[in-house]
């Protein structure tokens, strides 16, 4: 191990702090595998960084700090187990020997670069294991992978810190007691398990995205953290759906500045000032969409190895990649009028096959109304509403209201806006709908009053 003995102590403190920010989760992920316990590993990781602060000014900074930290953490943990045992009854000495023996010899594993490289993925899949509740998966992911404190997570989710702390403690207890494995799923389970990971990341993103602006800086941070997690997953596991989700988040995030007006009011996609869109995020998002939807590799080029190595995707693209593609069409349109609605309807046709939910069908109906005119969209929306599943979904009524308004059927539009208003929960959306309702002309000659400007409010359009 080569050392740099010339560094001044202050520089070393700064180096350790930077290392902690960049690599502490990597160190933790490997320590969890070596020690077989989240809490023990967390403690060992903290001890390792403390040891670095104490020893590096004297011994120099090791050439490879991460293995040094892992090794130091492992020894600290074994030390801790031995020390605690000395205070306990002698007949427990056997247990200590077992506990220490059970910790794999990390030295023997240093050659297995792949083992170590996979540790962050193991951590992700364990935190998002489907046997944990969605709430627990989110909390554990932000705590263990993002390294947020319990207080920070609680603040972001507007939950009492004690509730969050208990959720995390319970999740860790279940991992330990039920022995949730610390491993990357096999190829045949990968699609399902990856979906669980991506769902958690998108939940985090939406928590930060759907919050109104202004009073909620920490919630915008959540979206940034979700994008960071999305990048991490793509880097570790370049699967099409992971790229699709990253693209979707980048493209939605690119509109953040244009999404709300000066008073926090909602600005729909059509009305947004497109110069406020973040071009860098759009360019990156579009590039990821293209990779996610690129031609599937032929079976021979992928090789026959069953547990697919992670240089080529093993799972087909899915709903995230398609939603991202739709967002990319919007992002590429120079103006609302220039939007390629035919392309969007085509993408929704595929999406509705992969994800046949009423909400997707509603968004497709709205796109059809934009491509073929409101008269073509209305029967689709009314059929969906008649099915009953969307009766309590405010955006379904808002969509009907808007299409009726464009057809000059103002009484129908009014009834639907009122129904949407009775169901809406978020303040900016309520204000938007109330303004639409106020703007409706009185119920007179429908032909003369026909509106031509399409203003539609639906989930993808914010």
């Amino acid at each position: 191990m080569s050392v740099d003995a010339d560094a001044a102590p202050a520089d070393i403190a700064a180096t350790v702090a930077a290392l902690f920010r960049r690599d502490s989760r990597k160190v933790l992920a490997t320590l969890i595998r070596l020690l077989g316990d989240f809490d023990l590993a967390e403690e060992a990781m903290q001890d390792a960084f403390r040891a670095a602060v104490e020893q590096w000014p004297r011994d120099g900074i090791p050439a490879n700090p991460v293995p040094w930290l892992v090794s130091a953490g492992r020894f600290k943990a074994i030390d801790g187990i031995r020390r605690r045992a000395r205070f306990d009854a002698i007949d427990e000495a056997g247990d200590v020997a077992t506990a220490v023996e059970a910790i794999p010899d990390s030295a023997a594993r240093w050659d297995e670069g792949e083992e170590i490289a996979d540790d962050p993925l193991r951590l992700i899949f364990t935190c998002c294991h489907p046997s944990l509740s969605a709430d627990a998966q989110v909390a554990l992911t932000l705590r263990e992978i993002s390294g947020l404190t319990t207080e920070e997570i609680a603040r972001a989710f507007l939950a009492p810190p004690a509730t969050l702390a208990q959720r995390i403690v319970r999740a860790k207890a279940k991992i330990r007691a039920a022995r949730i494995p610390y491993k990357v799923p096999e190829a045949r389970e990968l699609g399902e398990r990856l979906a669980s990971v991506l769902r958690v990341i998108y939940l985090v993103f939406n928590e930060g995205y759907s919050a109104s602006a202004g009073a909620s800086l920490t919630r915008a941070d959540l979206s940034a953290e979700a994008i960071r997690l999305g990048r991490l997953v793509v880097e570790l596991l370049p699967e099409r759906e992971a790229m699709g989700l990253l693209a979707l988040m980048l493209l939605q995030e690119s509109r953040r500045a244009a999404r709300t007006g000066p008073n926090g009011e909602l600005v729909t996609l059509e009305a947004q000032d497109r110069t406020l869109w973040n071009r860098a995020q759009i360019d990156e998002g579009v590039a990821w969409v293209e990779r996610a939807l690129a031609a599937e590799p032929t079976p021979t080029s992928r090789g026959a190895a069953a547990p697919a190595r992670r240089d080529s995707p093993a799972v087909r693209f899915g709903p995230y990649a398609l939603q991202a593609a739709i967002a990319a069409v919007h992002a590429s349109a120079a103006s609302a009028e220039a939007t390629d609605w035919a392309e969007i309807v085509g993408l929704y046709d595929v999406l509705v096959r992969l994800q046949p939910t009423a909400v997707v069908a509603l968004n497709r109906a709205v796109a059809v109304a934009m491509r073929d005119g409101p008269a073509a969209g209305l029967p689709l929306i009314e059929t969906l509403l008649a099915d009953g599943q969307l009766q309590d979904y405010h955006l379904a009524h808002a969509a009907r209201a808007d299409i009726c308004r464009r057809l000059g059927r103002h009484a129908d539009a009014r009834a639907s806006y009122q129904r949407a208003l009775s169901l809406v929960r978020q303040e900016p959306e309520r204000e938007f709908l109330a303004a639409r309702l106020r703007d409706l002309p009185p119920d007179v000659d429908p032909v003369r009053r026909r509106s031509t400007s399409p203003v539609i409010l639906f989930k993808d359009d914010r």
Binding site: H129, S131, A177, A178, I180, P181
Partner: protein, 112 residues
Amino acid sequence: MKYLCLVYLEPDKLHAVPDSECLAASERLRAEGRVVAAEALHPVHTATTLRLRDGALTMTDGPFAETKEQLAGFYLFDAADLDEAVALAARIPPVRTGSIEVRPVRDLDPTP
């Protein structure tokens, strides 16, 4: 590591999966050497619930708690981890008609 898999069914679905199919599935699982024990149970109205209080043993007719789904049988599996236990439990035929609760078995603490 042992996992107890509790098979819960609504009373009218107790025989939705034929016994012969359950028997065949259990023989396949036993042949793989993963089954520590497995039995089907008579319906809950045959149950007797016991309590010892103040030295007196009382018996009540019926199950401890009335639930919509009732305990209909169990498997005790030997598995390396939860993923393996879940893969085994998913092969218990009533998973299609009822639900299966997978619980890790814990060691009792011998210290008094």
